[in-house]
Amino acid sequence: MKLTTKQLTLCAMLTAMALALSYLENFFPLSLAIPIPGIKLGLANIVTVFALYALGPVQALLILLSRCVLGAVFAGNMNALLFSLLGGVTAMLVMILLSRSRRLSVYGVSVGGAAAHNCGQVAAAILTLGNTAPLYYLPVLLGVSLFTGALTGLIAACLFQALAHTDLMKG
């Protein structure tokens, strides 16, 4: 894989944006509504969706991993690493698959990603706790993922629309 300078810069920018979004999520603690500590909305998936289309799966995965590791280091919380990694990677895998189908728009891909993100997080919670209790909240989380998915899809769509004709995308 050969990264152009432009692509590298874009990767770095997107990682920073993803980190900022992860931080932003702390202001909307989903755990108040769903009592599984560590569960996040998954707003950083916006970056994953964007990177997937704009840069490709490998770069998108790199951004994801950097975001997860840096996020955990900044927060000083290694518990969070498993949640964000499992959630993020599952979401990414599902979105890679879904984006192959050219029929789905960015909304469909995002919804699938959000659902996978929440499944991954429940799996992380089960692993961390050594108990299947969090499974009980999976249906609610799947329902929530419809909205977070639509939201990330909307924001990603706005981004693509805004950037489609800039030369940022022509690298």
Binding site: F28, F147, C158
Partner: protein, 359 residues
């Protein structure tokens, strides 16, 4: 702007979803259940909701009241008064008059296969007496001349009389009517869910506390003593179900079994190839006004259809205009279920029946 609105929407809906998950499924968890022995059978009244206790005891009072009014063996009942009036016009309650008229109607529409004036013949077989016996053909022929609703004159409640030799027994619709009356009590007391079992007559009111339909086991007529032996399972919500079967009461003499459902045409126990008939019809909660209604209909029809036999019963189901469904158990080991309840019916494989759905 749009994205924030979407976010607020997501947050609100998230809250809504969790609220659903957190609240218990049913606010009416109070339950009261009583057992009443009346009308020669065991009745179980089981109601849920705030006023369940009050309601089940009202239902017991209603059972006692109707038994006192309609019993043929109770000397003080209005039915006894009619049967022993010697052709003298007698005033009866509007309620008794309405029941006599309902009985006349069901007799007419079923071609006389349901007939409350069959009472003296049933007595001749000893089913209301201490001892059963097989009456002679001559005796039956004599009694049958007095059978028929043309011998019952009930146009006005103020003057009801029976022709000489005729007697009536409302037992064939009393429990069905009781189910109609109890349905009214349930409605008046805002009972969300209840099961009323009146010995062969069931009222499934509302649904189970877990939100699924009530599960009604249809007794396997070939295993009447096995409490777990079912011909099938009916999942019912707001419905009446009534079973008539020869296995419920019978006696044996000289190796032959004689059951209590007498065919008014022959004077003999009906021999129609059916061993049990279950009639199911929807209960319209709002229309439960305590008058002879769907419960009464189911009770009368179950007897009539049992006497008719499979073919005529299916004809009646298709053409009568009455809205009901049936489960027929035949003597040749088939269970016939009509299309309207096919989805609510689950066969019980242990019975060894062949199951058929007809439409």
């Amino acid at each position: 702007m749009r994205r924030w609105m979407a976010f607020v929407l997501a947050a609100v809906l998230t809250g809504g979803l969790t609220a659903c998950a957190g609240t218990p499924a049913d606010p009416d968890e109070a339950q009261e259940s009583i057992q009443v022995i009346a009308m020669d059978t065991v009745m179980i009244i089981s109601a849920y909701g705030e006023k369940s206790t009050h309601t089940v005891y009202m239902a017991e009072d209603e059972i006692r009241r109707l038994e006192g009014l309609l019993s043929r063996t109770e000397p003080d009942s209005q039915v006894s008064a009619l049967n022993h009036a010697d052709e003298q016009p007698t005033a009866v309650d509007g309620e008794v008059s309405r029941l006599l008229n309902a009985a006349a109607l069901y007799s007419e529409v079923t071609g006389g296969t349901f007939d409350i004036s069959i009472a003296p013949v049933v007595s001749a077989w000893g089913f209301t007496e201490a001892e059963n016996r097989v009456p002679s053909q001559a005796e039956l022929d004599g009694l049958l001349t007095h059978v028929g609703m043309e011998h019952v004159h009930a146009e006005s409640p103020d003057a009801v009389w029976l022709d000489q030799g005729t007697q009536v027994d409302l037992g064939g619709i009393a429990k069905g009517y009781l189910a109609d009356r109890i349905a009214m009590l349930l409605r008046e007391n805002d009972i969300p869910r209840a099961t009323i079992s009146l010995g062969g007559n069931v009222l499934a009111w509302g649904d189970r506390p877990d939100g699924t339909p009530w599960r009604i086991g249809v007794q396997d007529p070939k295993r009447p003593d096995d409490a777990e032996g079912f011909a099938g399972l009916l999942q019912l919500e707001d419905a009446y179900a009534v079973t008539s079967g020869g296995y419920q009461r019978y006696f044996e003499q000289d190796g032959k079994a004689y059951h209590h459902i007498i065919d008014p045409a022959t004077g003999y126990p009906a021999d129609s190839g059916l061993i049990s008939v279950t009639v199911v019809a929807d209960c319209d909660r709002e229309a439960s006004d305590g008058l002879p209604g769907t419960g009464t209909m189911c009770d009368a029809l179950s007897t009539a259809l049992f006497v008719m036999g499979e073919e005529k019963a299916l004809d009646f189901w298709r053409n009568s205009g009455y809205d009901f469904d049936m489960v027929l158990v035949t003597a040749d080991d088939r269970v016939v279920v009509t299309a309207g309840i096919a989805e609510q019916f689950t066969p019980d494989e242990a019975g060894g029946y062949a199951y058929e759905m007809v439409s």
